[in-house]
């Protein structure tokens, strides 16, 4: 389903539409929730709140308006709200150590993390697993080839294609900072 179809399906508020949007965007929503909250359980709560709030607000999603930035706004707000609520007084109550108080990531940082996650999720699976093994796993091409049981040339070509795709999708973030 393309982006317009996804937005249309979601706008109807149907369970199918919600499922389709969840399949596409639950990963990016979870990523930015984790960046803001630093806790898997709270981040899962933020994902839940995000999709419920999005469903409630789907009537405000105007036709032709892109879904991703709209959902990002809702997700970021949900995560920040949970962050502030936790900062006000988490359970259990324990002595608060001022040295451990941290500020949530910047808007730009959260937006970049969102964009990168969407770009990664857009990669074909065989390219995504190479990128994951390389960057997240810290493996060399030779090690990836061994792990995936494919020739090293295949790994290199997948890696090359994947990074060209990523550069194409994320180039505007590098240009914006120039």
């Amino acid at each position: 389903m393309d982006e317009d179809g996804l937005a249309d399906a979601f706008r109807t508020g149907s369970a199918e539409g919600v499922r389709a949007v969840y399949e596409r965007y639950s990963g990016p929503v979870f990523t930015i929730a984790l960046r803001v909250l630093g806790d898997r359980e709270l981040a899962a709560d933020a994902v839940q709140v995000t999709f419920l709030n999005a469903w409630r607000s789907c009537g405000s999603l105007e036709p032709g308006r892109p879904l991703a930035p709209w959902l990002f706004t809702i997700a970021r707000r949900a995560a920040i709200d949970l962050y502030r609520r936790r900062a006000r007084g988490p359970e259990p109550v324990e002595p608060q150590d001022d040295s451990t108080i941290t500020l949530p990531p910047s808007m730009e940082g959260i937006w970049e993390a969102w964009q990168v996650r969407i770009a990664l999720d857009t990669l074909p699976e065989e390219e995504r697993e190479v990128v994951r093994a390389q960057h997240f796993g810290g493996l060399s091409h030779a090690q990836i080839a061994q792990q995936l049981d494919v020739p090293i040339g295949t790994v290199k070509s997948r890696s090359h294609r994947a990074h060209r795709r990523l550069a194409s999708m994320l180039g505007h973030l590098a240009e914006a900072a120039a």
Binding site: R19, G27, R35, A44, A167, A174, E175
Partner: protein
């Protein structure tokens, strides 16, 4: 070399292995941005997946909300001891609790409802189940007395505490946490009588936690019901 080719090389190989950019290559600021993007590719958050079953919870929440919007809430949603009282009061309690339940469903367990039902001395507060007890709800009736705040907590959907565990109710505010009683529900769901020496104004959050019988008086943090989810 185009900027995009340079970025692809940078993302793939990093600064040491990246090809030297040509005359149209990005500047230092872009190199910093490229490094940030490369760091994000290695960030565990960027690869994390939400827990299994979350979609089902979301869909269930939407279904509950849709049902609530489709019609008035059922009075049985939050049963209480008011069933044995006079009809006028029962109707009023059902109306207020029902309204609270609707709000609760409408926010998919993320809503607070505080309704004054019997003059300024009595306040009703609706508590929602957390992820530890998603089917639980409770309606607390707070009544000011000369000795303190009498709280009648009508609980539904919360299982009896297993052996070795009990439930503990708390009021929390900027000044801290005050326990207002413990209970187990092993006789079935229903009303629990609690007492508080602090006010809802100063301690606006009411929670119920699941506690192990371990001699530790501090909250376990395992919140099963709250009016501030």
């Amino acid at each position: 070399m185009t900027s995009q080719e340079w970025l692809a090389g940078y993302l793939e190989q990093g600064r040491p292995g990246a090809q030297e950019p040509g005359s149209d290559a990005p500047g230092v600021a872009s190199a910093d941005a490229a490094q940030r993007l490369r760091d994000l590719l290695a960030d565990p958050d960027g690869w994390a997946e939400p827990p299994a079953g979350l979609l089902d919870q979301i869909v269930a929440g939407i279904d509950r909300e849709r049902a609530a919007l489709a019609g008035p809430p059922r009075p049985a949603a939050i049963p209480g001891p008011a069933a044995t009282r006079d009809g006028r009061r029962r109707t009023r309690l059902r109306r207020s609790v029902g309204a609270g339940a609707a709000a609760l469903l409408a926010a998919a367990a993320v809503v607070i409802a505080v309704l004054v039902t019997r003059g300024p001395a009595t306040t009703d507060v609706v508590l929602a189940g957390t992820r530890l007890a998603p089917g639980a709800t409770a309606a607390a009736k707070l009544h000011a007395t000369p000795s303190g705040l009498a709280i009648e907590l009508d609980v539904s959907g919360l299982p009896p505490s297993p052996p070795g565990y009990y439930y503990q109710a708390w009021m929390k505010g900027p000044r801290g946490l005050v326990t207002i009683g413990t209970f187990h529900l092993r006789g079935g769901p229903g009303a629990v009588e609690l007492w508080s020496a602090v006010s809802l104004t100063d301690y606006p959050t009411i929670t119920v936690t699941r506690e192990p019988e371990d001699g530790n008086p501090a909250s376990s943090g395992q919140v099963v019901l709250t009016n501030h989810p």
